[in-house]
C-alpha cells in the first residue's frame, strides 16, 4: 500500500485542481441575471425558430416587448460577439428599462450564447468584469469569445461553404463558429449555422422590419462609430433611415457614419440577412480598446473605462484610423451610443414608414443623461 501513497496524493492534488478548473469553467455557463421589467410581454427561445438548437448552448432567450398597438417590429441583437461588451450590456440595459408604445421590440442579449461560455486566455482576455451600481450592489458580466465554444461545435473543418457562399478555408476555418460569418444559416448545418437560421427564420416569421446587430471593434478597424446598412437593389429607403439616424446623432454632437454593406461581405448579418429577408439590416460598431493587439494590462478598468494609452499614442503617430480620445472611451459611452442609435433608427423608420410605426421610450434619456448616470445608474439592481 505504501508504494501507492504518492500515486494517491498526486491523483488527489490533480482532482483538487480539476474541481477548481471545473467550477471556473462552469461559471461561464451561467447567464447574467436580468432585472425584471414590468413591460416585458414574454420570453421566447431561438429554438422556437430553429428546432435543432433545443437543449444546446446556442439556444438563447428572446425578450419580447409587444405594445399591443399595431405597428412594425424591431429586432435588437446583442452579443453576436460576446467579447464586444457594449452590445450585450446595451441589450440588457434596454431589456431592463424599455417601454414600447407602438409595434414590437424583440431583444436577444446573448446572440451567440455558447460564445459567452469560454474566453481567449492566450489573448490575455479575462472571464468577467464587474460594475458597481448606485445602490452599492454589483453586476457581473462575462467577457466571452467571438466564436462558439469548441465544446459545443468541434472540430473546425478545413473547408466549409456557408449558405451565403462564403468559403471558410485556411486561417478563416475557425470562423465556422462565428455567427456573423454563417448567415443566413442552415437549419441542418453545424450548430452555429442553426443559430443563424434561427435568426433568419425569426425575421421571416415575425415580419421583422428593422434589425440592429451591435458590435465593437479595435481601433485598427475602419468602420468604428459607423453603421453598416444593407441596400436592397430596388430601393434606397434603408440608407435614408440610417441617414436620419446619423443626422439625429449629429444634433446630439455625436459623429456617426452610415455605409453600405460591402458587396462581398457574405455571411455577415447586414449583407446576408439583408439580401435574403425583407428586414432592413443594420450593424453598428463602437471602439473597444480591449480588443486590439496593442492593449496593455487586461482588467476591469480597461474594459469599463476604455482608456488605453498605447492606442492613444498609436493614434498620435498616425497608425490607427480611429480618432482615439486621450481620456478613453468608457463602456457607458459606447452603451449609450448603441442605445441611441437604436432609438433614432426606430424614429427614422417610423418617419419613413408610418404605417409600420415602432415607438418606444428607453427611459434612459439622452446620451448626456446616460453618461451622467453611468452604468451604475442605467442598470437595475438584481436585488
Amino acid at each position: 500500500m505504501k508504494k501507492y501513497i504518492w500515486h494517491v496524493i498526486i491523483l488527489l492534488v490533480a482532482a483538487v485542481f480539476a474541481v477548481f478548473a471545473s467550477i471556473d469553467f462552469l461559471a461561464m455557463h451561467h447567464d447574467e441575471p436580468i432585472a425584471d421589467n414590468p413591460n416585458l410581454t414574454e420570453i421566447r427561445w431561438l429554438s422556437d425558430y430553429s428546432e435543432g438548437l433545443a437543449g444546446t448552448d446556442l439556444d438563447t432567450p428572446i425578450y419580447v416587448f409587444d405594445s399591443g398597438v399595431p405597428g412594425g417590429t424591431f429586432l435588437v441583437l446583442g452579443g453576436t460577439h460576446p467579447n464586444e461588451s457594449a452590445g450585450p450590456v446595451a441589450a440588457i440595459a434596454l431589456i431592463e428599462n424599455i417601454e414600447v408604445t407602438e409595434g414590437r421590440v424583440m431583444i436577444i442579449p446573448w446572440t451567440n450564447r455558447s460564445g459567452f461560455s469560454h474566453t481567449s486566455p492566450l489573448d490575455g482576455m479575462q472571464d468577467f468584469f464587474s460594475i458597481e451600481l448606485d445602490d452599492g450592489s454589483t453586476r457581473t458580466f462575462r467577457v466571452g469569445n467571438r466564436l462558439s465554444n469548441p465544446v459545443d461545435q468541434w472540430p473546425d473543418r478545413t473547408y466549409y461553404e456557408g449558405s451565403s457562399g462564403r468559403k471558410l478555408v485556411g486561417t478563416e476555418s475557425a470562423e465556422i463558429r462565428n455567427i456573423n460569418r454563417m448567415y443566413f444559416g442552415n437549419e441542418k448545418g453545424v450548430l452555429t449555422e442553426r443559430a443563424c437560421y434561427g435568426i433568419y427564420n425569426l425575421i421571416k416569421t415575425e415580419n421583422v422590419d428593422i434589425t440592429m446587430d451591435m458590435h465593437e471593434g479595435s481601433p485598427e478597424f475602419l468602420y468604428l462609430d459607423c453603421t453598416m446598412v444593407n441596400k436592397h437593389s430596388d430601393n434606397s429607403l434603408a440608407m435614408s433611415i440610417a441617414s436620419y439616424m446619423c443626422l439625429s446623432m449629429e444634433f446630439d454632437d455625436l459623429t456617426m457614419r452610415a455605409e453600405y454593406s460591402g458587396v462581398n461581405s457574405y455571411g455577415l448579418s447586414h449583407r446576408s440577412l439583408g439580401d435574403n429577408t425583407e428586414s432592413m439590416m443594420t450593424l453598428m460598431e463602437t471602439y473597444n480598446p480591449s480588443m486590439g493587439p496593442l492593449h496593455g494590462k487586461m482588467d476591469d478598468d480597461l474594459i469599463i473605462n476604455g482608456n488605453e494609452p498605447n492606442y492613444y499614442q498609436a493614434h498620435l503617430d498616425g497608425y490607427v484610423y480611429f480618432d482615439v480620445p486621450e481620456d478613453g472611451y468608457p463602456l457607458v459611452n459606447r452603451v449609450a451610443r448603441h442605445i441611441l442609435t437604436i432609438a433614432y433608427l426606430a424614429e427614422g423608420f417610423s418617419e419613413y414608414v408610418p404605417e409600420r410605426c415602432i415607438s418606444f421610450d428607453t427611459n434612459l434619456g439622452t446620451y448626456e443623461d446616460m453618461v451622467e448616470m453611468g452604468l451604475g445608474g442605467i442598470l437595475k439592481s438584481i436585488n
Binding site: S243, L247, E259, Y260
Partner: protein, 218 residues
Amino acid sequence: MKKIALALIVLALVCTGLFADDYTSSKGTNDSEFDPNKTVEFVQETTSKNRIVTKGTVDKSLYSQPIFITSFGQSTEGAMLETVMKRCKLNYTYSPTATADKISGVKTLVIAVGASTKGLGAAGISIDDELARAKAIMDVVKKENITVICVHIGGSARRGQISDVLTDMVLEESSYLVLKEDANFDYKFTKYASEHNLPVSLIYGTKDCIDVFKSLYN
C-alpha cells in the same frame, strides 16, 4: 572576379535607388513644378460656434420647389441630403440613380457629389456607368438651363479622383455651392467659386445643411 561582382552589385544598388526615386516622383504628379514640401496651409473658417459661412450673394429667387435630388457617385450623402429636405419639410423627389430623362423638366436640381465604391457596388453601377449617367444629366441641365445646387457634404473623405471629376462636372453648371468645409482643404471649392462669382456656403457639419436650405426656401 570578386571585384567585378562587387562592382556590379554596387551598380545594381545605385540603379535601384535611382529607379525608386523616379517611381516616387511619378506617383505624385505630372506637374514639373510640384514641390512635395510645399503645402497649402488650410485655415478653417467655420467653427462649432460659427457654423455657417456664406461668401457671395445667394439669389433666392432662382430656387423653386419641387426640388429634385440625385447623387453623383452613389455615396451615402445623397440619402443624408434627402433627410435634410425631409426635416426642412420641403417638397422634393429623391432618386440617387435617376437617369437623364427623369431630370428633364425639373426646375431645381440638387446634386450630392462624392464617389463611394461601396455605394456604387450596392447600386450595381460601375464607375464608367456613373460617369456616363452624370454626363448625360449635365447635358440635359445645359440644354434646359436647369438651376443646379452643388452639395458636397462628405468632407475630405470624398475628395478622391473620381469624386473630383464628378464635382468638376457639377460645378460648371452650378448656381450655388454648399459644402462641408473640411472638403475644401486645398481651397478647390472656394477658389472656383471666387473665380466664377459663385455664392458658396461653407458648413461645419451636415446638420447645418438644414439651416442653409431653410434659409434658401424661407
